[in-house]
């Protein structure tokens, strides 16, 4: 794999704060490569993030970066996008950040179909606070706040997004960064609310407690379980059990909110 564009990294801010084996660096690198390939002007790109491990990525990226409050990244991004519709916004959130405390903003951003690119780094756990269960922790998995395994069912984040009105949804993982990069490019070029769910290993706060092995084991399992949308189309439910379907799960056409608003007041931002 080729070198990352140094222009898009704040190299003086490295090394990052993430634990050994964390997938956040891989996802961040995929995002940087994707932005480079879109050809977007650096000054038009804004990285918005919430609170949590993955949200610290914003500080390492050399754009205008906005590290917001817990769960609220999409609401900040909505204000910025409406004020400056020409900007290209990437919103990095963790699974708890996006789907628990930020759940309301997530479904309403989807409903408006506002042109934001949500990158949800899903490591199935609250990592920064030491391993509490999130709405994306699979049932039965252990966490410090679910020592016997969580009884709660998890959200299917992309079904939630589509049900709420999002027009682009894709799933990738840190074990297949090239594919993840492609998915982020597709999301970036899609007009409307796009969600890319990126599975990412947290060997320290999630893997260890659930006896999933080290980072390499977790990445291997991620890769082995993953199956492409195209191959999954020809398989039945039994065959797909315990598999993760990767790729673009949906891409629909619907009016984008910022454009619709500006058109309604007589301004074409097309």
């Amino acid at each position: 794999m080729e070198q990352l564009t140094q222009d898009f990294l704040r190299t003086k801010k490295l090394p990052h704060i993430w634990c050994p084996g964390c997938g956040n660096g891989i996802v961040t690198a995929a995002l940087v490569r994707a932005i480079e390939r879109t050809g977007f002007d650096q000054k038009d790109v804004v990285i918005v993030s919430g609170i949590g491990c993955s949200s610290r990525a914003a500080g390492y990226l050399n754009f205008n970066t906005l590290h917001t409050t817990h769960g609220r990244a999409l609401a900040f991004a909505t204000g910025l996008k409406m004020a400056r519709p020409e900007l290209k916004l990437f919103v990095i959130m963790g699974d708890g950040d996006c789907s628990a405390i930020g759940g309301n903003h997530f479904i309403h951003s989807a409903r408006r179909n506002i042109d934001l690119n949500a990158i949800v780094v899903n490591n199935h756990i609250y990592g920064m606070t030491g391993g509490q269960h999130s709405p994306l922790t699979p049932t039965g998995k252990k966490a410090t706040t679910a020592p016997g395994g969580t009884l709660e069912p998890a959200f299917d984040l992309l079904k939630l997004a589509r049900g709420a009105g999002a027009t682009f949804g894709a799933k990738g993982n840190a074990a297949q960064p090239r594919q993840l990069e492609q998915l982020i490019i597709r999301a970036a070029n899609h007009k409307g609310f796009s969600v890319v769910e990126a599975l990412s290993p947290c060997p320290i706060a999630y893997g260890r407690r659930n006896k999933l092995g080290g980072a390499v084991d977790m990445l291997r399992e991620m890769k082995e379980k993953s199956i492409s949308v195209e191959r999954a189309a020809n398989m039945d439910e039994a065959e797909l059990e315990d598999r993760t379907i990767n790729g673009v799960l949906f891409s629909d056409d619907a009016p984008e909110y910022a454009e619709a608003y500006y058109r309604s007041i007589g301004k074409d931002i097309g």
Binding site: D44, A58, G59, N62, N64, T65, L66, H67, L80, R84
Partner: protein
């Protein structure tokens, strides 16, 4: 001053009109009584002038959207009432920390909790000061008339931009819904920020030397904005000396511009024995009493009305306490600002609270009776 024309309007409408005059072009909000007219005015007028109105999914999101739009370079405002003001505290703290200008209007209603949504109260004075966590500076204006609602909103927008400091306009249900005459200027009262141009290549959004202009996102100055303690470029730091210096700096900017921030007005006898200290709608009852007692009967009474309640007008209270025997503090709450008055009276004058918390205004008769008791 530009030419003016008299218009009959409501306090909430005046707030919206003042905001637009001062250049506000972005409003995000959530419906709540008794502040809804501010949102309705903005929804009607902003699209006509190329601005953005958005009704968000909740109060938290509206505060966040306002901050996001400010970072994009727009002048912004949001309005709410008690329960919504509670929800805004999280991101209000963020805006203070990240020094993002914005104006938050709170049209106070009777609390706690859902309380009496349509009844007036002044119960959010301490929440406006201390509602968000941590030691933070805050500016709170408290209009006592529709006219003040208009002009203090304009002052709030301009000062917020100048100081990169969120400002609260603390209205109450009485002023918000009352209709009276306002002199609306023909021209704009928007103060341009002079420092937007000629940004140095080594732009420091949090320059230690003073208040750096906020260069909006999207112009090639790549900086970081965070609610974490940060260095001059916006990057997180936990270094104790830097943390302390950063906290000092955001407080010092209010001290430095105190003369522009702290607004009070005294009417009445030059050598008063009894003074009333009031803010918001209570000023109206107090003024009626002082007008009658002093202007008609030459009694030694006066009224110090506070257009700014935070930062607290400590010097003004200290000076007043040296002149009078008694300071009466009428408030439509169980006694909030009276504690501050007592603190800065420093024992020089007796400080008497006068409280009403049944959802009704304090009447001139109540104040008159209390004044009479001490004359």
């Amino acid at each position: 001053m530009p030419e003016t024309k008299p218009v009959l309007m409501q306090g909430n409408e005046a707030c919206a009109a003042g905001a637009i005059n001062a250049g506000v072009r972005f409003y995000a909000g959530y419906p709540i009584t008794p502040s809804t007219e501010v949102a309705e005015q903005m929804a009607a007028r902003l699209p006509e002038i190329g601005g953005v109105f958005i009704q968000m999914e909740d109060e938290i999101a509206s505060m966040a959207a306002v901050i996001g739009a400010s970072i994009g370079g727009m002048r912004t405002l949001t309005a709410t009432s008690g329960p919504g003001f509670s929800l805004k505290q999280e991101n209000l703290g963020y805006a203070i920390m990240a020094e993002i200008p914005c104006v938050v209007v709170n049209v106070q209603r009777m609390g706690p909790s859902t309380g009496v949504p349509t009844a007036p109260a002044q119960g959010d004075v301490m929440q406006a000061r201390w509602g968000t966590h941590g030691d933070h500076p805050i500016i709170v204006f408290c209009p006592a008339s529709v006219y003040e609602s208009y002009y203090l909103t304009i002052a709030a927008v301009n000062l917020s931009q100048k100081l990169r400091q969120p400002i609260i306009v603390l209205l109450d249900e009485v002023i918000g819904h009352m209709r009276e005459k306002v002199l609306i200027p023909e021209g704009k009262l928007m103060v341009e920020r002079s420092s937007d141009k000629d940004v140095p290549s080594d732009y420091k959004p949090y320059d230690e030397k003073g208040i750096a202009p906020l260069v909006p996102f999207g112009f090639g100055h790549y900086y970081h904005v965070t609610g974490l303690f940060h260095d001059q470029y916006g990057f997180p730091t936990g270094d104790p000396p830097q943390v302390e210096r950063a906290l000092d700096r955001i407080h010092e900017k209010l001290e430095k511009y105190r003369d522009e921030i702290v607004l009070t007005n005294y009417i009445g006898h030059k050598e008063p024995r009894v003074a009333v200290v009031a803010y918001g709608c209570t000023v109206r009852s107090a003024r009626a009493v002082v007008k009658k007692a002093y202007w008609q009967n030459r009694m030694p009474v006066g009224l110090l009305s506070l257009q700014t309640v935070w930062p607290f007008p400590a010097e003004e209270i200290e000076a007043l306490a040296k002149k009078v025997d008694v300071i009466i503090v009428p408030e439509m709450n169980m006694g909030q600002l009276v504690g501050e008055v007592e603190r800065y009276a420093r024992g020089e004058a007796k400080v008497v609270p006068l409280n009403r918390y049944d959802g009704e205004m304090i009447s001139p008769d109540q104040i008159s009776e209390e004044v009479g008791r001490w004359l």
